[in-house]
Every structure is written in C-alpha cells, then in structure tokens.
C-alpha cells in the first residue's frame, strides 16, 4: 500500500487518464478524454447529463473497459478488471445510491469482504479496531460500530461508505452527486471531512450539478461536453457563469427559444395535495399557454407530485382538477382527460425497449389504426413516421426496436407519445436527462412551440409542467418556477423574479 517514494520536486499526478476512448454501438461516449488529479487535490468533474461523466468514472472504477487510452495510478499502469479490483488497487466510488448492506452493523459493513481472518474465523477484535480507526475521525454522533446501518440517517450512511473505502487504503475517492440527498448540516459536515481527507493526501474526484458547491470545495474543475473535455481550470480563476457556458457550449439564448406566450385559463389545479410520504399540502395552478417549472433536489418529492397527479401513485389528501374533471384518477383516465406524462426514467418506465418505435409511440392510444378496433401495424408505423420526421428521430424505420436508438432519440420517442396522443397538459419529468445537446435543443424548441401555440407542433397553446434538477434549463424554458424542498412546494414565481 505504500507508494513508491520519489525524490524529485514534482511528484507524478496521483491519477492520470490519457486519451480515453469509449463507444457503445454507434454512440461515441468518450472521445480522447484526458484527466488527471494530484495527491491531496479535490478535482470537480462537471458536465450536462450525457456528457460522459459517468462513463468516464465507470472506466476509472473498472466497471467498463476503455477502447483506447491509458491510466496510471501513482505513476504505475492502472488497469482495473472490475470495480472490486479497482477498490483493491486504491480507487473507490461513493455512489448516490449507497451500496451498503442495511441489516449489517457499521463495522461489518466497513470490513465487508476484507474481514481479518485466521483459519477462516473472523478476528473480531482486529475487525473492530480497524473499523473504529476508519470512522473515528468523522466524529459523527450516530456512528457506532455496533449500530445497524439501516438505523442511520443518509448522511451517516454515506460516512460508513467513505470509511469502508478508507479501511482498505483507497487513495482516490470518487464522489458522485454526494449532496443530492443530504441536509444542509450534513453537507457542511461532509465538506469538512473532505478537507481533512485532503490533508491526509487522499485525492478526491467530485461530481456535482451544484456549481456553487464545486466552487466551494474543489481546487480544480474539468468540464466535459459531448463526450470530450472542453477545459480544465482552477476554481479560483473561473466564475460559475463561465463554467455554465463551457458546459452548454453555446449562447444560452440560442438554446432556449422563447416565442410570445399568453397564459390562458387554468387547466390543472391542485389544492392541498398530499402523497403517502411526499409531497405535503401542495398547491399549484397551471395555465394554458405557459411552462411551469418545479426545481429542487432529487428526492424532494417532485417526481412523486407528478406521479400522484397522473394517477400512478396514491393520493393521500387534497384535490386534483384537470380541465373540468375533479378527483384522483388512473393513468388511463388522465390520458383520456388529455394529460400525458413523460417519465424521468426512460429505460425502466418510459419505454418498452424491445418493442418497436411505433408501438412505443402509439401504446397509449391504439385507436383509429384499422377498421372495427383492429390495430394494423402498418398504420401505427405510418402515424409514427410523421413524428420521426418532425422530431428528427434517428432510426432505421418505425419498426426498429426502440432499445437500439441512442438516449436522445429514445427520449424523442417517449415525447412523441404525448404528441401523438395530442394531449393538452404535458407533465414532463426530467425531460432532458442523459441526452445530447442537439436533442435537448430540439425538445426545448418543441416545448416552446407547444406553450405558445405557434409553429409546427401545435395550433393552440398547451400547458407544460416540467420538473428538472438543472436550474439553468428551467430558467431558460419556464414562465414560472416553483421550488420543492422536502415535500413542500413553494409558490410559483415568475422567472424574472427568480435569482
């Protein structure tokens, strides 16, 4: 575990990734990416969804193998065969979804897989001491070796995860959106721990959407866009606005077109709406001809709000009014009321991946595709071809399985379902998650046309409710924005008044 001592003035970077290439089928995920981190450095990695951050980190951790390029850890070749191999060599990922065994205790989790054994028997004393050493520095009141992990708060669980990596001597820690489900207090505690890890010479790669946090904690920031590195700067020398500009890669005004919109009658109104856990007492009115955004952290209850409105989750209390229809309803009724929903999770919920593009686009309304209720695949494909052309969906034809397409094109297919159904109210959950900039620009333009009732996609204004974690996007496309925090929805403010 002891690094080779070197006498020269400039030690080699702790970790170096050079000329990394990766393709998935026809999609280039990483193109000539170079990234390095020094000992005791906090290096932020930022970029829009789909820019290649997670692929790069998967290659670093050993979950994927690069098609080309080389990696060095402390000057020696580093070729992890699997995430476990990567950890043992000194590179550990701290994921958003924690990978702890909830029924085991803190010490058992920390030592899982590396238990000290003699003739197959666990040496409990040694195990406890090593675990204690790993967590005592955190100085967290909840952290005790004997407590079961499921009884801890998310913040404390995260520390167990960090402790686990330190116990096996990891020198590079990768934090993937570590603060998205933490309270403000836990975030500050985490930052202090990161600073102390830094002093011990541990290198930290910090991935986050929250650029303010990046400015606060990171020494350097590298921006990825469209599968390649656009720049690497010291955080002291660059402003948040400049980082955004590097991420988006074009003038923000070009990306978010804005036609003349005129708010009309209320089409969706919720009063004191509560779900089983979240949200609590939400109030909201969505008008025809406007785009209303809901921002907030992952897990704040935004997705739940949309799901409850759409009838996918249970209503605990309150009232939903869509058009002239009041009350809770099933997704089928919502579609019939002229409301459509785009899922945040394209692969698991949004699309049936091994069915054709045509089946996916027409699934919510298999009507008028033949005489007497018969559904003719040819008619489904004809109707779908129209959307393929208008949304510029790249596919062989409408009969191709949607799983073959790239993320951006898949998302267009999911969106086309709402257009084909001709809904009035669009509920969009993270509509641009994990897609390329060109596909984003297209969706933004379509959303604008829908709200304004001009152009190709709509002859009359529609209403759009959009949830996103990415504030610049909401500022770009919305007329009003409300904030969801821990299940509470704020009042919607006009975009000009949001800072």
């Amino acid at each position: 575990m002891v690094a080779v001592k070197r006498q020269d003035e400039n030690p080699p970077p702790r970790l170096e990734m050079r000329g990394i290439h990766k393709r998935f089928g026809a999609t280039i995920a990483l193109d000539e990416v170079t990234f390095s981190i020094l000992q005791g450095e906090v290096h932020a990695l930022v970029g829009e969804n789909g820019a290649g951050k997670s692929t790069l980190m998967k290659i670093l951790s050993g979950a994927h193998t690069a098609d080309a390029g080389e990696m060095k850890l402390d000057g020696r070749p580093y070729l992890p065969q699997s995430p476990l191999d990567g950890r043992l060599q000194g590179v550990a990922m701290i994921y958003q979804e924690l990978s702890l065994a909830p029924h085991l205790t803190v010490e058992e989790n920390i030592m899982l897989g590396v238990e000290p054994v003699l003739h197959g028997f666990i040496l409990h004393k040694e195990m406890r001491e090593t675990a204690m050493r790993a967590i005592e520095k955190f100085d967290h009141p909840e952290l005790k070796p004997q407590v079961r992990v499921r009884e801890l708060t998310v913040g404390a669980q995260q520390l167990v995860e960090i402790g686990r990596s330190l116990a096996i001597g990891c020198r590079v820690l990768v934090f993937d959106e570590p603060t998205s489900s933490l309270s403000q207090k836990d975030i500050q505690r985490l930052f202090e721990i990161i600073r102390s890890l830094k002093k011990q010479g541990i290198s930290i790669i910090y991935i986050s959407h929250f650029l303010e946090e990046v400015q606060e904690i990171a020494d350097r920031v590298t921006v990825l866009r469209d599968s390649t590195v656009v720049g690497s700067k010291r955080t002291a020398e660059i402003s948040t606005d400049e980082i955004v500009h590097m991420m988006v890669g074009r003038e923000v005004a070009d990306l978010y077109p804005r036609s003349k919109r005129k708010a009309g009658e209320t089409v969706l109104e919720i009063k004191n709406l509560s779900g089983v856990k979240k949200p609590a007492n939400a109030n909201l009115a969505l008008h025809r001809g406007e785009v209303l955004g809901i921002c907030g952290l992952v897990g704040a209850g935004r997705t739940e709000l949309l799901r409850i409105i759409f009838g996918l989750d249970e209503v605990k209390g309150g009232e939903i009014k869509i058009g002239i229809y009041t009350g809770a309803g099933s997704p089928l009724q919502r579609w019939q009321n002229g409301t459509g929903m785009l899922s945040e999770n394209r692969k698991e919920e949004g699309l049936a991946l091994n069915m054709s593009v045509a089946d996916n686009v027409t699934l919510s309304r298999l009507q008028n595709f033949g005489p007497a209720g018969i559904v003719l695949p040819k008619k489904q494909e004809e109707a779908t071809q129209d959307w393929i052309d208008r949304l510029d969906i790249r596919c062989r034809n409408a009969a191709q399985p949607v799983g073959d397409l790239s993320g951006g094109n898949q998302q267009k297919v999911a969106f086309a379902r709402l257009l084909q159904h001709d809904v009035d109210v669009f509920l969009l959950d993270e509509p641009t998650r994990g897609i390329d900039v060109a596909a984003k620009a297209k969706l933004y333009a379509v959303i604008d046309e829908l709200a304004s009732g001009s152009g190709n996609f709509s002859s009359s204004p529609r209403a759009v409710l959009v949830v996103s974690s990415y504030l610049p996007e909401l500022l770009g496309i919305c007329d009003r924005i409300a904030v969801m925090a821990r299940g509470n929805l704020s009042e919607a403010k006009p975009v000009a008044e949001v800072d």
Binding site: E348, L351, L353, L363, V375
Partner: protein, 318 residues
C-alpha cells in the same frame, strides 16, 4: 441485425426441418403417412396448452399449473359424461370452463394479492392436481365411446381426405385466431407491452391487472381444452395424467422463441416447438433408442434454444 431478424422469424421452423431430416435419414419410417399422423396426434395436447402458455410468457409470467389443469379438464369432461349424463358437447364446454376457472384463480391471486406467478402457479399445480384426484376418486374415469373420442384418434380409412384429425384442425384454427388477436388487436399489443415493460404499460394507461386476469384465464381455458383432448386420446379422464407436462409446454414456447423475461414469443413458434419435441421423441422411438436418450436429446435442444434466445438479446441490447 438483418440476419438475426431472419433467424428470429424462421429459426424454429428451420430447427424443426433439421431435426426431422436428421431422424428421417436414420429411419425411413419417419416419412410414412401413419408416422406423420401419429406425430401430429401426439403434439396436439401440448400444442393447445402452449397457445395459452405463449400468452402468459409474452406477458412476462409463467403458468406451472398447466399439466394439472389438463388432467383436471380431462376428469371434468369424463365425469360430466359418466356421472351427470350430460351430452358430450356440454361436457366438453364444462372441461374448458373448469380450466378457465383455474386460470382465473391464478390470475386473481397474481393481480389482486400481488403474488409472484411462479409461486401462485406452483401452488395451484398441487391444488388443481389434488382436485382432479379428489373428483375422480384417484382412479381414471372411463368415459366410454362418444364422438369426443374421435377428436384425437387416427382417422378411419374412409375419412383420410381430412388429412389430420378434427382435434388438430381445431388446434390450427385456434392458433390462427389467437395469433391474429395478438398481432392485430389492442389487447394483443397490451400483452406484449406488459411483458416488455410493465411500468411503461402502466404509464401508458394500460389496464395491466385486467389484461393479466384475461391472459391467465385464457391460458387456463386452453389447458382445459388440452384436457378434453387428453380425454379424447385416452378415452378416459385421467387424474394422474399429464404430470410434468407443463414443462413440455413451457419448453415448446421457449423453443419457439418465447422469452421467459417477457415481451417476446409467437404462437406459431410455440406450435413448432411442440412439434420439434414430438419429432425427437418419435424419432428416438422408431430407432429403438432408450427413453433416456430421448430425454437427453430433448434437454440439449431446450438449452440450445435458450442459448439462441440469449444471443439474440445480447445482439439487441448493446
């Protein structure tokens, strides 16, 4: 990709041809008309049940109770004729209806109590088998000679123009009907969607529970009908018959391109799958090979079919 699509469609048919030619090369008896007719007779029971099983497997489920329902169906038909003196046609419908009720029970437990299909149908495998034995007093119920016996019997000399027995014609008719419903109706597309991704189906307003209830009920009805065929073939209601036959039925669907993860499968593929297994069995018998050889060969074919299925998936989802 293009090559794979081609293989998807005609792979099972090609496999049937290869297996048949293989055995025909060994033994010229395979090519005689009586042998062919016998093979069709032996396929009908599994094939009819496989029509329903295909729907279940496409929807992402499984029905382990098929064999028991077949036995139960045969007992119900025989009892209706012998004990209740019902006309054969009514007895036949009772058998199908009894199968449907069993299927409905499966569907009810799966959709309302939200239990896993594997567990539910494992339970009803025992439950329905027990019912069949209880109703029949653990003895075969001799139904005697009615026109039902002709459904699945070798055609008499004067009726060879029919080519295959009426039961086989019924199987073909139902296969065409169900294949058409699957491809060209809303409920058919919904069944595929549920198997492909249940969450997507729900998001798109598909009444998932109702569709599953229909699927399991229909599967039960087809197994009940297969039970009628068993009764016709053996001229008795057999409470201990068709033990383990659900595995043949599932194998037929899988060989025919059905995916146990749902969303894929075809009625014609399943029929061909059932034929392949019969050809192997008959071929081995005609060559005088021991039953254990038959089992080994069948086992290899099933594993090969699933391997092809897996390769296909790897190709589709990069």
């Amino acid at each position: 990709m293009k090559n794979w699509n081609w293989l998807n469609k005609f792979g099972p048919l090609l496999a049937l041809l290869l297996v048949y030619l293989f055995f025909a090369a060994f033994n010229s008896k395979m090519t005689t008309l009586p042998a062919m007719e016998a093979m069709i007779l032996q396929t009908v029971i599994v094939a009819i049940s496989a029509i329903g099983m295909t729907l279940v497997i496409i929807s992402g489920g499984i029905d382990l109770s098929a064999g028991s329902i077949i036995a139960f169906g045969s007992v119900v038909v025989a009892l209706c004729i012998v004990t209740f003196n019902l006309p054969p046609v009514v007895a036949a419908f009772c058998g199908v209806f009894a199968g449907m009720l069993c299927g409905f029970l499966n569907g009810f437990l799966i959709t309302r109590i939200k239990l896993v299909p594997f567990i539910v149908t494992l339970g009803s495998l025992l439950l329905v088998r027990g019912l069949a034995k209880g109703f029949a007093g653990s003895m075969p119920v001799n139904a005697g000679e009615t026109w039902l016996s002709e459904l699945l019997a070798t055609l008499p000399a004067g009726q060879k123009w029919q080519l295959i027995p009426p039961g086989a014609w019924l199987m073909i008719f139902l296969a065409v009907l169900v294949a058409g419903l699957l491809r060209y109706t809303k409920i058919g597309r919904h069944i595929f969607a549920i198997g492909s991704n249940e969450q997507t189906a729900r998001l798109c307003g598909v009444a998932v529970e109702r569709a599953k209830l229909i699927v399991y009920s229909v599967a039960g009805a087809f197994s009940g009908l297969a039970g009628l065929m068993l009764m016709s073939y053996q001229e008795q209601g057999d409470p201990t018959g068709a033990v383990g036959l659900e595995l043949d039925v599932i194998a037929a669907v899988v060989i025919g391109g059905g995916s146990l993860s749902g969303g894929e499968g075809s009625i014609f593929g399943s029929l061909i799958g059932a034929m392949i297994m019969t050809v192997i069995r008959t071929g081995c018998q005609l060559n005088g090979w021991a039953p254990w050889v038959t089992q080994i060969v069948t086992g290899i074919v099933i594993v090969m079919a699933v391997t092809v299925d897996r390769l296909r998936h790897r190709n589709n989802h990069q």
